[in-house]
Amino acid sequence: MTIAVLAVQGDFAEHEAMLESLGAEVFEIRELSDLDRPFDGLVLPGGESTVQGKLLRELGLFEPIRERIMSGTPVFGTCAGLILLAKRLSNDDNVYFDALPVTVRRNAYGRQLGSFYAEEEFKGIGKIPMTFIRAPYIESAAEDVDILAQVDGNIVAARRGNVLGISFHPEVDGDTSVHRYFLDMVEGK
């Protein structure tokens, strides 16, 4: 199984290490020619969504990646990645892939002093560590979206079909269960 990791900016290396530890083959997408390689799933890492969104467009990656997502390639976004996947942002005019019908609030917990760590239930997995770094959360979701986790009443993980969006950073916690969940999605389990 081959997973492509968007590597234009952010903590892509942590995702790669996590996926490799689970036996996946991993490569990075930094420019258009990287998309020539076939892949079974795509990861959009944490980082700054404004930077990633801009680089996606200017490096010509945006449309081809959007087409892959729309045609059913499994995709997993964390933090900035969730923002890129959302249909709407409540406090920002940008819209990127519009692949997950949810409304996301950017920097929903405020500045770095608002960053925090929690342990909460993730549907189908159980209690897992969750690290929120200047994180967004999902304010509202369409009816057909599966809510996978909530913290203090706010949605922090959701899935619809091939699209998984999470507002925290499983890639930095040493717990592989969410990545395992995504690889199971890719395998169609």
């Binding site: 420019e31 944490g46 980082g47 404004t50 930077v51 900035a80 770095q112 002093l113």
Partner: protein, 290 residues
């Protein structure tokens, strides 16, 4: 507090592969964000102007920093003087995302750095070599950058510092375990940090390049030498076309091995900052705080 330190190291992880730009006004901050900066450093004067003006250089006016916080959605950093823990307390009070305890400002303490373990907000500190980097980390820094020589537009010292750190890291990795005790003594740092570097082949925190980066090629050079991201200070807003240069540097950092692309990015950028050569510098900021 341990937990807070992890969160602060994690924020630096999110900045990786990005460019942090010095800005002095909300307008510049917006230009930087628009150009793809992953964070901005709010300061009253960029290093080149601090160098030109001389005199004592201090933390910026909190009102000016707040103006920049309101102008952008990306993280905002600000500088305090080395050892000036009250300036750091003020920056924490206005909820800055990252404090740079910086040699660019006049040091407030010629012996002690700030005990950064006492703060909730993260700190980035400059270093010329592995010993300095690990001492700052021991004091609680959750991100390191090379000192370089700020405000010169000359990359030579950032190159020297990054090469020095990487070479010392490789040396530690190659050592027998029983040699690490002596290495800790020589580096004047705790053994457990030396052991971490030996085991992992890298610093326990993110390591950026800073000081003298002026062109897309400079930025890519630092990335190829092992930097995980780049600070650009005077290089952008002291140049002919800041927005274009800033955007070009951002792309050069993402695709730092693609020479063809960087060549394209380097076309018609307008004038780079004039710069000062190493031999012409009167004040070596990198010698502040060891």
């Amino acid at each position: 507090m341990e937990n807070r330190y992890e969160l602060n190291k994690n924020l630096a992880q999110m900045l990786k592969g990005g460019v942090i730009m010095d800005v002095t006004t909300p307008e510049q901050a917006r230009i930087a964000q628009e150009a793809g900066a992953c964070a901005v450093m709010a300061l009253e004067r960029i290093p080149a102007d601090i160098r030109a003006a001389g005199g004592v250089s201090r933390m910026s006016d909190p009102a000016m920093i707040k103006g920049i916080q309101e102008a952008v959605s990306i993280p905002v950093m600000a500088k305090c003087r080395i050892g000036h823990f009250v300036e750091a307390q003020l920056l924490e009070a206005i909820e800055i995302d990252y404090i740079d305890e910086s040699e660019v400002l006049s040091p407030a303490d010629d012996k002690y750095h700030i005990d950064k373990t006492k703060f909730k907000v993260p700190f980035v500190c400059g270093a010329k070599d592995l010993g300095e980097a690990l001492r700052r980390i021991n004091e609680g820094a959750s991100m390191i950058r090379t000192k370089g020589e700020p405000g010169t537009g000359d990359v030579v010292q950032a190159v020297r510092h990054m090469r020095m750190m990487q070479s010392e890291i490789r040396r530690l990795v190659s050592m027998r375990e029983d040699e690490l005790f002596d290495a800790a003594k020589l580096l004047q740092v705790p053994y457990d940090l030396v052991k971490y570097v030996h085991d992992n082949g890298k610093l326990p925190v993110v390591n950026f390049a800073a000081g003298g980066v002026a062109t897309p090629a400079d930025a890519a050079l630092m990335m190829q030498l092992g930097a995980e991201g780049v600070f650009v200070g005077s290089g952008i807003f002291k140049s002919g076309n800041p927005a274009k240069r800033a955007a070009a540097i951002v792309k050069a950092v993402t695709n730092y091995t693609d020479a063809k692309l960087i060549a394209q990015l380097s076309e018609n950028l307008g004038e780079a900052m004039v710069g000062i050569n190493e031999q012409e510098i009167e004040l070596l900021m990198a010698e502040r705080g060891k």
